[in-house]
Subunit: 183 residues, 2 copies
């Protein structure tokens, strides 16, 4: 986001910013960008080496699959958000949470996505869902995750999609990814 | 977008919509969504079977690679936009333009992306760029495009990324993709 950008709209999730941008020919134009709260996505690994996946529906979506995750609240760190979302959406707690990747994949949207690896996940209770969530928790293998990545109903970032797909055509990368996730 | 959604902000590119959404427990919440103009992306194939790629910079970006494309103007069809963007950004005209894919890849943004295949592209003039564009045109092979897809500086949709990556681990899909693009 340009330093001179000013907020021109404040929404429930999305804020809109604008600034005066100098062009290559010296002229100026109004540039515009969206800002939304940072989110977390958690690769939760259970003690028996499975990955926690949500089968999910929201009031305005079809059934889709995703990693546990969600928006970072104003009162918490990204790390706290990762542990909270994992707990609320799966009922699992992790003994070893590790920040994995942090990226922003849109040029016109300021949206930080933070990925965590949560190892030694153990079930500690039931789900704690919002009225806008219907979730079933699935435990799947690494191979199954690579397969699931091909589905149009597995919703994740372009970044994570690329990682999973790369593991499908690059054996060295696949081995490295497995080690990164499972330790 | 929900039918009852109302525009609460109108920007230069982005409009914000809100609606009252019934939740699974019968309660209501304000849902919010961004709407932005449809865009086109063109896979331009030259007469010598190369693909037209832009090496590009905009005032607020690093150097990146992309397909020719851009926003659909209010006064034109998506087809007209595809031919116009191809002409302006590459200097090429196509004798056979075919609509390929049309999709929307965000749940919280109403953004239609339209992909075209433009065959028999021939150079007909120079570039016609906006003051916010710096572009060099590259002609690359299909194999080079598959390689380029791995780069963080190749900016395209998640959908197209998945197609290119799938061609790297699925030989039958790769052959089909080649035929779809090159005829």
């Amino acid at each position: 986001m340009n330093k001179k950008a000013k907020r021109v709209f404040k929404g429930v999730i999305f804020d809109v910013y604008q600034w005066r941008q100098k062009m290559f020919d010296g002229s100026f134009a109004t540039f515009e960008m969206i800002k939304r709260p940072a989110t977390v996505e958690v690769v939760g690994i259970t003690e028996d080496k499975k990955i926690l996946i949500l089968q999910q529906r929201q009031p305005n979506t079809p059934v889709f699959y995703s990693l546990p995750g969600g928006r970072v609240d104003k009162s918490e760190s990204v790390r706290q958000a990762a542990l909270r979302e994992l707990r609320e959406e799966t009922g699992y707690a992790s003994k070893k949470l590790k920040k994995w990747k942090s990226f922003n994949e849109y040029t016109t949207m300021d949206w930080q996505i933070n990925m965590f690896i949560a190892r030694y996940c153990r079930k500690v209770g039931g789900l704690m869902l919002d009225p806008g969530e219907k979730i079933k928790v699935k435990k799947i293998t690494f191979e199954r995750l690579l397969k699931l990545a091909e589905s149009d109903y597995f919703w994740c970032s372009r970044y994570f999609t690329k990682i999973l797909f790369k593991a499908k055509f690059n054996k060295i990368f696949k081995k490295k990814l497995y080690q990164e996730l499972f330790g």
